[in-house]
């Protein structure tokens, strides 16, 4: 997306957030007071009418966070973050409670269009006949706005709610699983998230149920200076299947802004979760100013036998990307997959990869990582494949490919392989290449202009990962790859 479009979109959001959506509640404070303290945590919890156990959980996490040093082991250059200089909660003035798609404000739809939400999604959102059914939960500034197709999902027994709603409606499930896969003490940003998480998505698929449509949390927009801390929890009971899309758009032109989300997935016996992310947060300008910090902890617990979780990510935005979607393969014959395309251009940095922890016998994992660097950016793959002593017959295949555009960018691979069982088969392949002038000229001699040629070659490079995405996302991701590399060649 061009800079002009960003600005327009941002203005549109500013406008819309002052728009009255049907009813107006008492004039409440829009933001939590600036800064972070126990009072902030209590404020957030009170705003959401949370039960005591959750408030205690938050406070415990907050106190823990205070004792932790900010980690700096990654190959990233992170300017110091002032945690007091941000708002930790923001809410639209009139809190919408929309029951059906029809009630979604046309203003919002206009914003969707301006922000470049793919046409398919627009059709879905507009309720056009014959459009593919994708249930969408739109999140505006920390609060879920509309969840479509609720009735149909309910018929199937699928629960698709905002976390805040789920806490109220399904407390036992939340209590059972929240923080069990990514505990608050897991790391600095997980602790922070646990303390101040604002909202997020809760999904529950009952036994032997194939979720009848793809679930998507489409977009989030931040008002200036709000840290964004979502929490997502997906539970797939035995024999169930769900495909979840996390599309992140809304590039922002703010000072560096922290996005420290936590995603927890649980798959029981014979269950499968497919989790796809296309991330295009604001990467900062060409000089490296501004941009989102995307520090995310994502982990799946493949608890059940023959359970399976696939992570697919296309990361093209954000100034700094720091995340390792991982699988704890506890169940026998469980399967973990990680497919990633991470693009860095200009001054962006990425330190990303996956951790596959093999505990269960016969568990298998696949890691396919494609890093594309351009400009003066730095792109690092960091991965861990660990096989526990008791895990017989484990197989892993890891492939890390890097593509360098230009001669000033960097690409690094840091694989950790820790194997404590002699029957394990672990394979690791890596390639580093650049787009050869010969390839470029070949494509251009056939009639493609330079940008199309680069886009084509890059897409070919990333193909193996892109084809893991649900179709609409794949098309958007292809376009995104081209756009994110604009100006990087020549």
């Amino acid at each position: 997306m061009t800079e002009t479009r960003n600005r327009e979109a941002y203005d549109a959001v500013e406008e819309a957030s002052t728009y009255r959506w049907g009813f107006v509640s008492d004039i409440e404070q829009d933001f939590a007071p600036k800064g972070l303290s126990e009072a902030t945590v209590r404020f957030i919890s009170a705003k959401k009418n949370e039960p005591d156990w959750l408030l205690e959980w938050r406070l415990k996490a907050y106190r823990r966070w205070l004792t932790l040093p900010a980690p700096d082991w990654a190959k990233l250059d992170i300017p110091p973050i002032d945690y007091q200089d941000a708002y930790y909660y923001a809410e639209p003035r009139a809190k919408p409670k929309l029951g059906s798609l029809d009630e979604v404000d046309p203003e919002i739809l206009r914003i969707y269009e301006k922000l470049g939400i793919p046409l398919e999604e627009q059709k879905v959102l507009a309720g056009v006949e014959g459009a593919r059914k994708i249930a969408v939960d739109a999140v505006f500034d920390s609060v879920s706005v509309a969840t479509t197709f609720r009735a149909e999902l309910e018929r199937a027994g699928v629960i698709f709610r905002s976390i805040s709603d789920a806490v109220r409606e399904y407390p036992e499930l939340l209590r059972k699983w929240l923080g069990k896969i990514v505990p608050a003490q897991d790391n600095y940003f997980a602790a922070l998230n646990a303390a101040v998480f604002s909202d997020g998505t809760f999904v529950y698929i009952p036994e032997n149920t194939r979720c009848p449509m793809e679930l998507s949390t489409y977009f989030r927009i931040n008002a200036a200076n709000t840290g964004q801390f979502e929490r997502t929890l997906i539970i797939a009971e035995r024999g169930s299947y769900v495909s979840y899309l996390e599309g992140c758009t809304a590039p922002q032109r703010d000072e560096n802004q922290l996005h420290a989300a936590v995603v927890e997935l649980v798959a029981l016996d014979d269950a499968e979760i497919k989790y796809s992310t296309v991330q295009n947060w604001y990467p900062g300008d060409a000089e490296g100013k501004g941009g989102i910090y995307n520090f995310v902890t994502k982990r799946a617990l493949c608890q059940g036998e023959r359970s399976k979780v696939s992570w697919t990510q296309v990361e093209t935005g954000s100034a700094i990307t720091w995340k390792y979607p991982s699988c704890v393969l506890a169940g026998e014959n469980s399967v973990g997959e990680f497919y990633s395309v991470a693009v860095t251009n200009n001054h962006q940095q990425a330190d990303t990869g996956s951790k596959m922890i093999h505990l269960g016998r016969g568990s298998r994992s696949t890691i396919i990582s494609k890093g594309i660097s351009a400009g003066v950016s730095d792109n690092t793959y960091r991965g861990l494949v660990r096989v526990a002593a008791g895990a017989d017959g484990v197989r892993n295949f890891t492939q890390c490919d890097s593509l360098l555009l230009g001669d000033r960018c960097g690409s690094h691979t840091i694989p950790y392989i820790e194997v404590r069982n002699p029957t394990a088969q672990i394979e690791h392949e890596a390639t580093t290449s650049k787009i050869s002038e010969d390839q470029l000229f070949y494509a251009m001699q056939r009639g493609l202009d330079q940008e199309s040629a680069v886009g084509l070659i890059v897409n070919g490079f990333a193909k193996e990962v892109l084809q893991q995405l649900p179709m609409e996302f794949a098309v958007e991701a292809q376009k995104l790859l081209g756009i994110s590399l604009e100006g990087s060649v020549g």
Binding site: Q439, Y442, M444, Q445, R446, L448, N459, K463, E464
Partner: protein
């Protein structure tokens, strides 16, 4: 169709073409032969717009356009095709996808309608069949894992699909066995022998010219064309070698 006048060109300051003149009319097949290092590939690269070459003087007109003012992809759209000596691999992109993207890019640039998916596949299959090029290979990544002969056949399939006015074939016959040579030769005759088309074959050897009988043969030496003649000139070169001609030209 193509008029090259007094073309001088350098690579990194080193002169390669030193006053080359050539004229190709529609309907003609020309062959350029010459010793290694004479500038044959350089000529092909300059005509098609490969970066890295400096034209220091002279002009090239292609169908009333100043060819040197166009970028590589613009020249392709104008109707020039290069059969590469060493076709490059493009992993992850199928031949079908690549060619359809290229063809439609050219069509759009010319203000023509794009070809639909089905129509394109039909066209691609026809061209592949005519060259005995396995259909399955169309689905594979561009040139990945292709033998030398398969790559050259693939170039011909592409030529058939893109249908250029002028085809410049850079040592298309190198590395081909007898069957492949015949197939390629037949392909060139079928695709490029037409009143509104032309071809420029750059070759070392006579053998391709047995299949594609040229109207004109030129000898490129020391950066320019030192002798031109009909098809029999190639036979003479085969018998006598270049030395006699080069002495004359010196």
């Amino acid at each position: 169709m193509l008029t090259i006048e007094n073309l001088h060109a350098e690579i990194e300051g080193k002169p390669i073409l030193t006053g080359l003149n050539l004229r190709i009319r529609a309907g003609e097949i020309h062959a350029i032969m010459g010793p290694n290092g004479a500038g044959k590939s350089t000529l092909a690269n300059i005509l098609t717009g490969r970066p890295g070459y400096d034209v220091t003087s002279g002009s090239v007109q292609f169908q009333d356009q100043d060819l040197l003012a166009l970028s590589a992809h613009e020249r392709a759209t104008a109707g020039i095709f290069l059969g590469f000596q060493y076709p490059v691999e493009i992993p992850g992109i199928s031949n079908l996808h690549f060619l359809r993207t290229a063809l439609n890019a050219q069509k759009v640039a010319r203000g023509e309608r794009e070809l639909s998916g089905a129509a394109f596949i039909k066209l691609a299959r026809e061209q592949a069949d005519a060259l005995s090029f396995d259909q399955e290979m169309l689905k594979r990544s561009v040139n990945v894992g292709f033998s030398g002969g398969e790559k050259k056949r693939n170039e011909m399939v592409q030529m058939g699909i893109l249908a250029p006015a002028l085809a410049i074939l850079d040592e298309t016959d190198s590395g081909l066995d007898i069957d492949a040579l015949r197939a390629v030769g037949d392909g060139i005759n079928r695709i490029q022998r037409a009143p509104n088309k032309a071809a420029l074959l750059i070759t070392h050897y006579q053998r391709l010219l047995d299949y594609v009988v040229p109207d004109f043969v030129h000898v490129l030496a020391d950066g320019r064309i030192v002798r031109s003649g009909g098809a029999e000139l190639a036979l003479e070169l085969e018998r006598e070698g270049y030395s006699a001609i080069l002495e004359e030209a010196a």
